[in-house]
């Protein structure tokens, strides 16, 4: 298992250390440590327990939520009726939020990955006037925390009549300084300068070279950045909370919290089951994507964290 995993890592990220790792795995295996296994099992339970709670409680009717033990199934199995209620409540607004989230993820995360890849590649493989300034500006602006800028950004967008439109969420999501940095580090090693030189001599334009040759070499790095940006945009809460006041543009996160506020303020405990089942439905797609693609992410992180 561990050996195949090592081999399946994308080339170029940890290339230099593959051999010693393989050698170690083939050597005499260490004994499993009971203490370490117990400690890690405790952490595993800590990580999974709230998710288990979520699954269990999304199968309960509103009354069973209050009357049965939280960590085990109880009362009537109401998962399907809960899901049905989630999608029909308030004229099916949840489906609309789901669609909004998808729009923000596809446009925001997709666009951010494309821009970061182009820019990181440009930094790694070209020498151009102002390159040092670009580096300094990006580094300096990243240090200023995003949430601190939320209010000025809101006021600015409000003057431009962009608030309460999808643009207000998508435009700021298009910037991924971390992605820019990861691709920069990645492209320096993954795209040999000699290949670019050869393409230039053959008369290919820089953009054609990029899309035909370099983008393929950069693919593992791009998947890493895509995962970061997908998780970030799917889970984004603060930005849409500030920018949007019309519920029909809400993403899932803001919508769910709105339901929760309704339940808390109006004393209408009837919608708690919607909050819980809606949370489950919000988590499932992102976790599926996450589990499917996480191995690329891991190796990309390695490149970034080791060289930072």
């Amino acid at each position: 298992m561990s050996v195949t995993e090592t081999v399946s890592l994308p080339a170029g990220t940890e290339g230099g250390h593959k051999a010693p790792r393989l050698a170690r795995r083939r050597g005499p295996r260490r004994r499993h440590s009971l203490l370490l296994n117990v400690l890690m099992t405790v952490m595993l339970l800590y990580a999974l327990l709230p998710l288990f709670w979520l699954v269990v409680n999304s199968t309960k009717t509103p009354s069973a939520l209050f009357s049965t033990f939280g960590l085990w199934f109880g009362g009537k199995f109401a998962l399907w009726s809960n899901i049905h209620q989630v999608f029909t409540y308030d004229n099916g607004i949840f489906a609309r939020w789901f669609g909004n989230t998808l729009l923000y993820v596809v446009a925001g995360a997709g666009g951010a990955t494309l821009l970061a890849t182009l820019a990181g590649y440009g930094m790694a493989k070209f020498d151009f006037p102002g390159k040092r300034a670009v580096f300094a500006i990006v580094l300096g602006a990243v240090a200023v925390p995003g949430t601190a800028l939320a209010v000025p950004t809101f006021l600015l967008f409000s003057n431009l009549h962009l608030t309460n439109t999808p643009w207000a969420v998508i435009l700021p999501s298009l910037v991924s300084p971390l992605g820019f940095y990861l691709i920069w580090v990645y492209a320096a090693e993954a795209v040999p300068t000699e290949v670019l030189e050869a393409a230039r001599i053959d008369g290919a334009g820089e953009f054609r070279t990029f899309f035909v040759i370099s983008s393929r070499l950069l693919a593992p790095g791009m998947v890493t950045v895509l995962l970061f940006t997908v998780v970030a945009t799917w889970n984004n809460y603060f930005l849409p909370l500030i920018m949007l006041s019309d519920p029909k543009w809400y993403p899932l996160t803001v919508g769910l919290n709105n339901w929760n506020m309704q339940a808390a303020t109006a004393g209408g405990q009837a919608v708690y089951n919607l909050v819980i089942t809606g949370s489950l439905l919000t988590v499932i797609p992102i976790m599926a994507a996450f589990l499917y693609l996480q191995r690329y992410w891991r190796s990309g992180l390695a490149a970034g964290s080791v060289k930072a």
Binding site: M40, F66, A143
Partner: protein
């Protein structure tokens, strides 16, 4: 850039193939504007989404909304107000306390987990790695809602525990324990992420170092202390900086738990919540911008201090 053998060989072939004058000319004239074609689009959006708002925030922070006559220039008055505002100081103290307690706890847990994963003495390394990392994919909103319900007095687990212990178990949403309750949610969300950063760095350490240390008679703890930890110092600093920025910027979790415990977790619980509520509930945009700038500067200073400390220890 480290040249691996394949690339080096390719380079030799390439240079042998084209040793003509054309190549030499190109090699000299590489510095041109072509790179801007790639960097340009990113920088345009970057300027619009980051640089302009920073400038606008600074501009706003220097003005004050007047009842008559619109905005008036007041210099650093808003900053003076912030520095003598007890609500701001209380919120700042709270996140600093959070920072000194939660960040070390989470980092140590992440480090222990990463060392355990790297030790090859676990039964199911991928299962542990994936499960502990999984909460990172859960939106902060859902994480806070889940934990909020678990903490809650109505159908929460903690309520059960409390009735079992006869009230000797603390109420996580009381004002004494609210900060710890938030710390638990944040730790739950990010311990796996930090574990992964550290684990990736550990995986990149050449194994020969451990073997050499073992031959020299080092114990496992000696290897951790003198080989592994120094080798991943950069990754530890990176993970610390992410955590520090996260805690100074604390917003999502307290803002959502605020609905469950409005008395314990107030609207000015953290500086970010305070700035947000000043703008959106109080319309005090100028003062709010000043607080945002103060927090931005503070974050930069703290992050730089962590980095400086990490560097100094390396030398």
């Amino acid at each position: 850039m480290s040249l691996n053998p394949a690339v080096a060989a390719g380079a030799q072939v390439a240079s042998r193939r084209r040793n003509g004058p054309a190549r030499r000319r190109r090699a000299r004239g590489r510095r041109n504007w072509a790179g801007w074609g790639f960097v340009g689009p990113f920088m345009v959006v970057f300027a619009f989404a980051l640089i302009v708002p920073i400038g606008y925030a600074i501009y706003l922070s220097l003005y004050r909304q007047q009842l008559i006559g619109g905005n008036a220039f007041v210099g650093i008055d808003n900053y003076k107000t912030a520095l003598s505002d007890p609500q701001f100081w209380a919120s700042l103290r709270r996140v600093l306390l959070f920072l000194v307690v939660q960040v070390p706890i989470m980092t140590v847990l992440a480090l222990l987990a990463a060392l355990a994963l790297d030790s090859a003495r676990l039964g199911w390394t991928p299962l542990y790695r994936l499960s502990i990392f999984l909460p990172y994919a859960v939106p902060a909103v859902v994480a806070s809602l889940m934990w909020g319900f678990i903490y809650g007095s109505q159908f929460g687990l903690v309520a059960r525990l409390r009735s079992f212990f006869g009230g000797h178990f603390p109420d996580p949403l009381s004002s004494d324990w609210a900060l710890s309750a938030i710390g638990n949610v944040v730790t739950w969300e990010f311990v796996g992420y930090n574990m992964l950063i550290l684990y990736s760095a550990l995986q990149a350490v050449p194994r020969e170092l451990y073997e050499a240390a073992e031959i020299d008679g080092a114990t496992q703890f000696g290897i951790i202390r003198w080989v592994k930890l120094p080798a991943i110092r950069v990754a530890i600093v990176v993970s610390l900086i992410f955590s520090v920025i996260g805690s100074v910027q604390l917003f999502n979790e307290p803002n959502i738990l605020n609905q469950l415990a409005p008395d314990a977790i107030t609207k000015s619980f953290t500086p970010n919540m305070y700035a947000y509520n000043l703008s959106f509930a109080g319309q005090e945009y100028n003062y709010s911008a000043a607080i945002a700038i103060v927090m931005g500067i503070l974050t930069v200073i703290i992050a730089a201090a962590v980095q400086w400390y990490g560097r100094r220890r390396t030398a």
